[in-house]
Subunit: 325 residues, 2 copies
């Protein structure tokens, strides 16, 4: 087993230069996703809000950026052996498509209760899926067993320097398109997107305060942020399936501590309301995790008249028929 | 009572020059809506499909184009007296916002079972709403009563030359952006958008075959098209609320006969499936009527390998919470 995470325990393991390099790799492979605005939102918040819509990214979420950037940097031998990953869904699809684009083999460990739309898409992109029951085993334990049998590179869904650098390209595009921001709201699961966004903002909009948003029911990163000690949460019961990660990682924790200005939590009801708000008002399909930053915005995480606020809408992979039926 | 429909009984009451003039009026007022593509759709249809996403238009549907173009051409006296309209919703919101932008009074007769999201938005734009029960009275009868009391201009939701010209600007934008098309699929209620689109395509992409799509349960336009005699339908039970119109109009019928190549119908199930398909795959919120043309596409209305197919996605105003609860 090799691991692209490497072993660098440095205090700040990812730099803006890494994000720039990732952006070059992604330039003709990732979608340059649209930035949307809404006069209703601006009126409600008395601010100027810019939604970076990563639900329109390839595979339906920002995860493609990090997965592609990581796979692009594998050695020929690593590419030949293939890739292993675990994911509730979006990282799975991202690895599956990125692997397909590089013509390498991918296998994904996925909880058996992942949204059907994510399972189907992962399979359609050509990955092998290995299901597990998330109440009986952890992804990490399963992975240990799997890698013992196969000589594949594991690409961690967030605690991987190439993944973090790739995720940072979304905020880079946003700020390059709309200019200086006063605030940037970003959801937080394992902190890959949050770290990458904060690094990008630190260089491109140094006055911008980056705020992380996570579910109240999975508030490990918020507790870690305030206590400055890594906190965990076990199998949290939140609708935001992308934020069920047990904790920040060895790379994302120091990055969040260093670059992020504040963390806020939102209730399950606020997540669902924000999701419907985006559907009804912006006419875009957003999954619960993808609506976390918007939920923070709508509950007043930023009260600053005329502020310029960026919000990353992270994904749109949701079982819609499940809601209907 | 005055009526912007005027009294011209000419065979072809709207020209491409009218659409060009409408486009100039709308240039800094309407959104230039995005054109989306999907590799999944292209694979499914073995064609190259371009979705013109009018769900991102102001007020959430293409109707803003026609309403604004009509109100823009009222005389100062007509503007002073205000505007009356009837609509299941999207024309209502469009008239309400266009009226607001010109600072004129608007009143809308609306069925009491119109989607709540449409009622709320219409009220928020500042229009007065007059509810009626569509099983007890027709909009036309109600309107007769109302106009007897008020000296306001009635702006018909589709059978109005300025409205038709305004609606034609969506197809104009689409073809100008993506180039020549082989087919253009457009939904049909009263035929305003279909007429306008077909006039635009006739000038900008003369080889393009324009095909109208309507619900099987409200197939009056299809029957009119084939019989060349105006057919009607009474209060049809279709989920596509924008296509519950009783018939084509005095202006739209001859335009449809002259410019449209074919009409197809789609089942209720096909409409719902197409709507969910657009939500899940394109990550855009589309209302049932807005998915009619996509439903026609997905059921194989066009079987032409490598064809370049335009599809107008007309609106995204749908009670999402109603689906959830």
């Amino acid at each position: 087993m090799t691991n692209t995470q490497g072993t660098i325990p440095a205090h700040l393991p990812v730099s803006y230069a890494d994000i720039e390099a990732a952006a070059r790799r992604l330039s003709d492979r990732a979608n340059r996703t649209p930035v949307m605005t809404s006069s209703t939102v601006d009126k409600l918040t008395q601010a100027r809000v810019f939604f970076k819509c990563e639900n329109f990214q390839r595979t339906g979420s920002f995860k493609f950026r990090g997965a592609y950037n990581a796979i692009a940097q594998l050695s020929p031998e690593q590419k030949e052996a293939g890739v292993l990953a675990y994911s509730s869904g979006n990282h799975a699809q991202a690895i599956a498509l990125a692997g397909h684009l590089f013509d390498i083999k991918t296998a994904i460990a996925m909880p058996d209760d992942a949204p059907a739309v994510k399972k189907t898409a992962t399979r359609e992109y050509g990955a092998e899926i290995i299901f597990y029951n998330r109440k009986e085993t952890t992804r990490e334990k399963l992975l240990e067993k799997l890698v013992a049998k196969r000589d594949r590179t594991v690409i961690h869904p967030f605690d991987n320097q190439q993944v973090i650098a790739g995720q940072g390209t979304a905020a880079k595009e946003l700020i390059e398109e709309v200019g200086e921001l006063d605030y940037l709201l970003v959801c937080c699961g394992g902190g890959g997107l949050l770290s990458g966004s904060a690094i990008a903002a630190n260089t491109l909009a140094p006055k911008c305060r980056v705020i992380g948003a996570e579910p109240e029911r999975a508030d490990d990163a918020t507790r870690s942020f305030y206590s400055k000690t890594l906190q965990t949460v076990h199998n949290p019961d939140t609708i935001a399936d992308g934020a069920r990660t047990p904790s920040l990682g060895q790379f994302t924790f120091p990055l969040v501590l260093h670059y992020v200005r504040d963390m806020v939590t939102v209730s399950e009801e606020a997540i669902v309301n924000a999701m419907f708000f985006l559907w009804e008002r912006l006419k875009i399909v957003v999954e619960p995790t993808g609506a976390l930053a918007t939920a923070a915005l709508l509950q007043g995480a930023v009260r600053a008249p005329d502020a310029r606020i960026g919000v990353i809408v992270t994904g749109g992979n949701v079982d819609i028929r499940g809601f209907w039926e």
